[in-house]
């Protein structure tokens, strides 16, 4: 038998082996390999990494780093703020937020917190710093200007543990 057929049958046999090992070993290995790559989900979706947390008594405001969309992306630059946990929020929130940490409030954010988690939200943002745009009665039409209630960890949430956050995205003004 010549070399090429031997190689062909060896490869075919190896392919069968790959098939048999897939559910037990390879699928997990490949998945872990992909997960280990230095990749991240686009920040327009994820909101970017959290920069700092502002304690507000029973709850806190997580301030994310500003997100600047890429090249032709239709969204505008924005900054994401998370009010968490929702269970500790009062029925009406009206907070002055110092986003850049200079000791001066940059925006005042006001929204109602309905008891029903599925109830629609709307937010008003008063701009106290020209870097941040004001918003009036905004819901969730765009990734760069919205208010939504997000359960980041639904799969691991237990009866008494609430991972809900109210996410507000405020567009940045053009420099």
């Amino acid at each position: 038998m010549k070399l090429r057929p031997i190689l062909g049958y060896s490869a075919a046999g190896a392919t069968l082996l790959v098939a048999l090992l897939t559910p037990f070993l390879l699928m997990g290995l490949f998945s872990k390999g992909v997960a280990a790559l230095p990749l991240h989900v686009d920040e327009v979706y994820s909101g970017g990494p959290t920069g700092r947390a502002i304690p507000m008594g029973a709850y806190s405001i997580d301030v994310h780093r500003p997100v600047y969309p890429h090249f032709l992306q239709s969204e505008k630059p924005f900054i994401q703020l998370d009010w968490t946990p929702v269970s500790a929020l009062p029925q009406h929130v009206s907070d002055a937020v110092d986003i850049d940490g200079d000791g001066q409030p940059d925006i005042r954010v006001s929204f109602d917190v309905p008891r029903d988690p599925k109830a629609p939200l709307s937010v008003n943002v008063e701009s106290l710093n020209p870097r941040y745009q004001a918003m009036s009665n905004v819901g969730k039409n765009q990734f760069s200007r919205l208010i939504v209630r997000v359960n980041y960890d639904k799969d691991h949430a237990k009866d008494n543990v609430n991972d809900d956050a109210i996410v507000v995205r405020v567009p940045l003004a053009k420099p």
Partner: protein, 385 residues
């Protein structure tokens, strides 16, 4: 050249295998199916899930038995594939309604990284990921994307573009529709249309890079109509959903019915074009033994994916887009279209090549597609029982 004793006589189809021999050949698949569908670690203890798993294992084993007994691949594979195409939306849509009460993806689910990831966006993510390390999909890497990419990599190593015949959970819908009419109403198809998926792939890859979004999923995927779609929050969302429905109605329902071809796969699917590249690394292929070929071009007419042309038949090979469904092999009256392992002599024990391919492909079809079928059956059982 192989000796005549190893070649089937001209114009004679192989006789059915004996039942005992077919059963022996099927036995490994029965064990595998039970292992994957019923006894796998982590399987749900819910009795309905166990029953649906058992039914699926028996279904997949029975189809494999018929493949062994009749030497026919396409007809039995199609039964599996159409079942997959029908039962995937049933299970998936049911899960969506249970989880969120709608097929639309709300923006908060995207922000939380809970958009289910199918294989379609894989080619669209490569360039943005390579250039900016960013995945332009609103999902979770560890919680979905890595898993699907892992499955896709493993299955692609085994099947190449066979993915489109043994794993794709969308293609079965149009294959089922194409099987309904006895004859094609439209027979003359412009051969240049087979280059369209490459054009769609190129356009979508570039658009995804420019717009930083999975452009095909956002604008053109016909299967959004039967899976999940962008919640119509605005006029643009409404337009997107209208496009999904129109493309589904045209490419997945109307044209397959009129042409008896998988038109979405043949003329549109960018993932299919991308997957064709992996036929180059797949060790299994379909060849044409020119010493037996007339050529009558029955194989070309039988191919559901326009993967054979007059020129390719003359060269003794299929086109790069061949999905290894086996339609041409089964249709050839002279046994000239054969399964082949690269590197081996043409027509040297083609049945051995077929068996080696089928064991790998079917094992993974049971693992991947079988699980989806079992979920669909479980939903039906839950509703009915």
């Amino acid at each position: 050249m192989a000796t005549d004793a190893r070649i089937l006589p001209l114009a004679v189809r192989p006789a059915p295998r004996g039942i005992l021999r077919s059963l022996l050949l099927t036995l490994p698949m029965l064990i595998w199916s039970l292992l994957m569908m019923v006894y796998r670690p982590g399987a749900s203890p819910d009795p309905v899930s166990r029953i649906s798993g058992l039914l699926t294992a028996l279904f997949m084993t029975a189809l494999f038995f018929m493949m062994m007994r009749t030497h026919n691949t396409y007809r039995w594979r199609r039964i599996f594939f159409v079942s997959l195409g029908i039962l995937f939306p049933i299970g998936f849509i049911h899960n969506l309604y249970v989880m969120r009460g709608s097929m639309g993806i709300p923006i908060e689910e995207m922000i939380a990284g809970r958009t289910p990831f199918c294989f379609m966006p894989i080619p669209l993510l490569i360039l943005p990921a390579a250039l900016t390390r960013t995945l332009v999909f609103p999902g979770s890497i560890a919680g979905g994307m890595a898993g699907m990419v892992g499955i896709w990599l493993a299955l692609t190593l085994v099947m190449g573009k066979g993915w489109c015949s043994y794993a794709c959970f969308f293609g079965g819908i149009e294959e089922g529709v194409a099987a309904i009419p006895p004859r094609a109403k439209i027979r003359k198809l412009d051969p240049r249309l087979r280059y369209l998926p490459w054009a769609v792939l190129l356009a979508m890859v570039l658009l995804s890079l420019a717009l930083f979004e999975p452009a095909y999923c956002m604008w053109l995927c016909p299967f959004k109509a039967v899976s999940e779609y962008v919640a119509a929050r605005s006029t643009i969302g409404l337009i997107q959903n209208v496009i999904f429905v129109l493309l589904f109605a045209g490419l997945v329902i109307a044209l397959p019915f009129l042409t008896k071809k998988r038109t979405q796969c043949s003329w549109f699917c960018p993932f299919g074009a991308f997957q064709s590249i992996f036929n180059k690394i797949s060790i299994f292929e379909v060849k044409i033994d020119q010493s037996r070929c007339k050529p009558c071009l029955i194989c070309q007419n039988a191919c559901p994916n326009l993967s054979l042309s007059k020129e390719s038949v003359a060269r003794g090979e299929t086109l790069l887009s061949c999905m290894k469904c086996g339609a041409c092999v089964d249709a050839c009256p002279r046994g000239a279209v054969i399964w082949h392992i690269k590197g081996t002599e043409i027509a040297w024990k083609p049945e051995r090549a077929r068996l080696m391919f089928l064991y790998g492909a079917w094992a993974l079809a049971v693992m991947f597609g079988g699980t989806i079928i079992a979920q669909g059956i479980a939903v039906i059982l839950h509703v009915v029982v």
